[in-house]
Structure formats: C-alpha cells, structure tokens
Symmetry: C2
Subunit: 384 residues, 2 copies
C-alpha cells in the first residue's frame, strides 16, 4: 500500500444552522479543505453521514454532494457507521489512496440534526443501537450509557465528580476553539446540578445535537512532498466491531471494539500509547471518554476517572485528551465528528492550534465510536 | 493493486418476507456465500443498504451484521448510494482486497422494504433524488423516469411496444430464476394494459418493492488459485456521478454517469462492449434498461428500444441483458440489487445458471445505478 498524507482541512462553525441546508453546510467545509490543500480538483470523495434519511429526508449524499461541489462525474461515496461514520469514511478514503485507485481524495462528514424536533432526533440516534432488542423496548442512548456508567462506578469507584471533571476539562478546551458550538466554560458544580437525563448522567454530561460538517484532503505521501505541504502522515487506520446490544457484551464497563482497533493501530504505527502527544476521543457522554482512555491503554483499567480528576487528560497534562473541546463542547453532528477529530489532529501536528496547541506534538491518535461502542475507528498520525 | 477474484456467492428467495427481520434476511445470503467460498472465516465485510433508517429504523448495519454473523470484531462497513448501494459496497470491498488491507472480504447488500406501507416506501425511495429541488414538489421516481421516457420517445421514436418488450424479456428470463420475486411471464399486451403509474410507465414497466439480500466473497486472485476455486476475476471497477436533479442534466435522454463509468471500466479491463458475453443492468423501469444499453455502448444512441424489440438483448440474442430476470422480475431490494447482479455474473462465468446459462460466457459486465442515474457503478468480470 502507498503511504498517505493529509494536506488540507476544513470545518465550519458548528451549531443550530437553521438557515442552511445540509448541502450548504457540507460545501463550506469541503471548499475550505480543498483551498487549504491548494489543489485545483479532487479525484474522488467520501462522506460520512449517519442518517440523512431520518434527519433531512435525503440519502444518496455521495452523488448529491459531488454534484453540489461541481466535481461530478467523480466518484462520491457515502459511508455509515452511526456516530463513527466520519472516521469510517476517512478509512475508506485512505484505502482508496493507499490502493492506488485515486490520488487526491476528499474525506468528509456531515449531519444536519436540528431540522427535526427532539423526539425525532432521539429516534434517529436510537437507530445506532439494536432496534429490535434495545430501542423498541424504550431505552435511548443516555439510558444505555447511564448503565455503563453505573457499572463503572460500582466496580471501580468512579465518582460523580470524576464524570463532571471530563465536562469541565472539555469545555475549557473548547473555549479556545472558535468553531465550537458551546465554547462556554462550566464548573463541576454546574455539571452536577444540571438537569438529570438518565441517572447518573445529567445534561452537562451529554454531547449536544448539532448541525455541522468537516473535511480533509488525502494524497499519496510523495505527492504531498512534491506539493511542499506540511506533512501529516497517516501512520495507522484500524476498524473493529463488538456486539451491538449491551446485553451481549462480555463486560459492560469495557469498550472491546476500541481496545481491538487501538491494538491494530498501535501495531501498524509501531508505537504504543506512551509515545502519543495527544488524542481526540469520542466523548458522546462523560463516561465514554473515561472508558475510551482506558481502552486505548492510556490508563489502567478502571483508572480513567481518577486520571481525569487528577488533570492528566487536560492540556499540559500527561496526555491531552480532546484539545478541540471534544464532542461535549465542540458539538456532535454525528457524521462529521470523526472527520473533525482528524482535522484537530492534523492542525495540532502542524502547530496551527493557537492557545490550545500541544507543544512539540509528534504523534496524534483519533478514536471515533458508533453506538455504545459496537464500532470503533482508530487512526494514528505522525508529523513528517 | 492486487488482482481480485470472487470465490463465493449467496442469495435468498426474494419477495415479501414479513416473517423475517432484516438481520435474518441478510444472514441467510451471507452464510450461503461463505459456505460457497469454502472459507472458515472472513476478515472484513461491507454491506450496501439504501435506507435502513427509513425502512426498518435500523442504521449501523455494518456493526449489527458483523455481530449477527458471529464475526465481530471484524470491520463491518455500510455503504450507501441509493439503489447503487450494493454495487458501491462491492467496489469498497474490492479496494479493501486490492489494497492489501484485507484478504477474505464479504461484499453484501440488503433491503427490507415491505415492513412499511406503500406511501412510506415511496417517500423512502424519493430520498435518492434531490429532495429540495425535486421531491418536495411532489414528484416520485416513476414520474422522474416517465419524463426521461417521454424525451426518449420524442427524440428517437422509441415506442410503447419497445418498452413493453423489455418487461416481457426480463420476466421470461426471470421465469428460469428460482429466486425471483415475480417469476411469472407476461405478454406485451398485458404490460400495455396494466395499471398506469406515470404516463407512459405502467405498473408492469416498474420494478417491485422487495425484501432480500445477496452476498459474495472476494479474495486475492492468488489465494483463489491456491484454494482451487473456479476463477472469476474482477477485471474492472468504476464509479461515476452525474447531476442528481434531472433539470441539471445536459440531456434527459442520456445516462452520463453510466457512460463515464463504462468508459473507465472498459479501459481497465482493456476490452470493449463487443467482447461482452452478457450484462446485468439496472432496469428499475423498462426505459432505464433501454437507456443503459445505449450508455454502455451496446447499441447506438437512441437504438436501445429497437434493439430490445428485435430480441438482441434476450438469451440467445447478440448480447443477453439481465439473464437473471433483472430488477423487473427478480425483484429490487435496493441495497441488494448490485450484489445480486454480481452473483449472476459470477454464476454465468462459472457455467452454473442452468436453463438461463449463456453459452461460452467469458466476460460479464454489471451496471448498478442510483436515483435517476446520479450515480453508477460498473464492474467487469472475466472467467479465469
């Protein structure tokens, strides 16, 4: 396989973008990535989107968006893996370049979630879980993650305060990200006193409903060098699955798909977690970030909560997690999230992150997860 | 890129499968393909599905189905391009094998369309067109194809009888396919007297609403040889797009994405249309088959209707089209259709098609199309 590099990134300001259609939201990010790459065309494009059908009544986004970008007749492919759709779209784009099938490929993600009411959005999101065995019986995603949180708290002594510290840290990081949906900072007391959603998870433990898009441009490494672009090399691309329904899992307090994808990715990159300069992870709920940091091997099993409370995951800590603000503060347009993580990793490795820059960043890892962890996509990037 | 071969195929009997869930329908086909391949595991899987969200309230099918197959933690990726989802899933699986990322890959497709009522199914299908500029104004797919048919009839003198002959021929072929949803034969008079849907298209000009799945197994060509399997080599894989909305097309009576994908595919395979032994094409409506045979270069522009009437596209004719019965008779579970086309091509090249076998089949082409032709995936296969 050919070596692959990222040479362009784009993202718009995320939020409730009621004045823009899904195609407009996406095109803003795509054009920015292409401009940033400095290329005059793309050879193919991939778009991650979880449910264009349920959110905006529009499937066939690969063709629609290639057309909208004025790049038809190039191949436009939509990839879906619930909230991991963006990361998985990037992986398919990576394989398209690595295989030699295409040279300049746009990997993108988009979701327009606020055109429907809250009930319809909750239903659409529930289609990421096992409908027949979970959702038809009434549970929604906060409830599923609340059960995971309860097991983690019971088994490892993870505390309510430790959950809150994840939100406090990610909002602090997000306050330095001009594209974040909720750049406001919050205190642990505010998190702990916010509205209860599914015990123990409160509204400030949950990532929001968001409209937004993100895009990056991939090329063969040697083309990136010829174009004299800052080199961000794709050092690993891995994807793994787990039982979709919680009741089929070996362990409710462990994300096996993340552990597996990380194991594969570390093997490809020939590094371990200790070498990472920063990670962007899928903090759809505060408990998710704690569990992900354990499954990635950043901390021992059961120690993720304590590590968050000790500040190890904050900017300046042992391993900065979600310098972008994460899903919690930056927002979570589900199909776009995995691509926005990769944009942040790329910008960090280029040294373009201003006040939220991690000093001397060399290796970055992104972890994007679907459902309650039924699918995980992990990528590792190296500064060239 | 590595050379790739197909070593296993599977499909269940298509129809209104009310007693089975989407996962059951899919698993039947997947297990048959794996059994046919004679492998004891798969390394990754791809599934084409147009709208699991709108039809059955289930997205995240890559993870769900890898789990259902008992093959987790392997990567399971869902790909969508409306009615071309199956063909595009095959293309991503092909790239995964060709790139060297995976060795034994299942490419599959599924759709469960009859669990919703006709209005909801029509709405779900309309999400393949441009919702904002086409469907929100009331038009549905039969109406869009009816406009294309009217232009073709006006410009080239294509007749009502020629449209009917496509249906007559495909039902005749389908009567020899034990897995077809509608294996009954029909006469031109029956087609011409059937219920009007969108003038000039009548119900017997339209492919049906179907539940079904199909699957194939891909491996590197050298592994296929070591396993001593009948060799069906993937000689070309191409994907192209066009304006999604009809009003943005250069020509309403021409399928530019099919022309482009075919041009790329012929170039990769280093053959022209004259060398093909058979083709499977996307006859969602009778007019579509006529237009596709022109865009593939099988007949001159405007001559597709006359060729169908002359019997050139029937078994035993110059170039047999849709020996499987096509979407018209076999059925059209949209995400599965592209894979079922590839199953038929594989079986024809192996000589496994019984009464509908094309003699001395050596090259086969499949053409799978999304919307009114906004996306097309073309594959060419060679008997090894």
């Amino acid at each position: 396989m050919r070596e692959v590099a990222i040479i362009g990134v784009g993202q718009n300001r995320w939020g409730e973008l009621w004045g823009k259609s899904i195609r407009t939201v996406w095109t803003e990010a795509a054009l920015e990535a292409i401009d940033d790459a400095g290329v005059d065309h793309i050879d193919a494009m991939y778009v991650g989107c979880m449910s264009g059908g349920l959110f905006v009544g529009q499937e066939h986004l690969g063709a629609l968006l290639a057309d909208q970008l004025g790049q038809g007749p190039i191949p436009g492919t939509r990839v879906e893996s619930a909230c991991a759709s963006g990361g998985l779209a990037f992986r398919q784009a990576y394989l398209a370049v690595a295989s030699g099938a295409h040279d300049i490929v746009l990997a993108s993600g988009v979701e327009k979630m606020t055109d429907v009411d809250g009930g319809a959005a909750t239903y659409a999101l529930s289609t990421a879980a096992d409908q027949e065995y979970e959702c038809y019986h009434g549970i929604t995603f906060p409830g599923l993650y609340a059960m995971m949180a309860r097991v983690h708290m019971h088994r490892f002594g993870t505390t309510r305060r430790q959950l809150a510290q994840v939100a406090v840290k990610n909002h602090a990081h997000g306050s330095m990200n001009p594209l974040a949906q909720f750049p406001s900072t919050v205190t642990a007391e505010q998190v702990e006193q916010s509205v209860m959603v599914a015990d123990p998870l409160r509204i400030l433990d949950c990532s929001p409903i968001t409209d937004g898009a993100a895009a990056v441009v991939l090329v063969p490494l040697d083309l990136a060098r010829r174009l004299k672009k800052p080199i961000v090399r794709v050092a690993a691309s891995a994807h793994a699955t787990d039982a979709i329904a919680l009741h089929d899992r070996q362990d409710l307090a462990w994300l096996a798909s993340t552990e597996k994808a990380a194991e594969l990715a570390y093997g490809q990159a020939k590094i371990g977690p200790a070498q990472l300069s920063l990670v962007e992870v899928h903090d759809c709920f505060t408990i998710a970030e704690i569990m992900v940091t354990e499954a990635l091997g950043l901390f021992e099993r059961g120690q993720g909560g304590k590590a968050a409370e000790a500040g190890h995951t904050a900017l300046g800590g042992k391993i900065p997690v979600n310098c972008s603000g994460g899903l919690k503060s930056k927002g979570h347009p589900v199909g776009a999230t995995g691509i926005a993580q990769i944009r942040e990793a790329t910008m960090q490795l280029r040294g373009d992150c201003g006040p939220r820059q991690v000093s001397k960043a060399h290796w970055a890892l992104t972890q994007n997860m679907g459902g309650t962890g039924a699918s995980t996509v992990v990528h590792i990037f190296e500064r060239g």
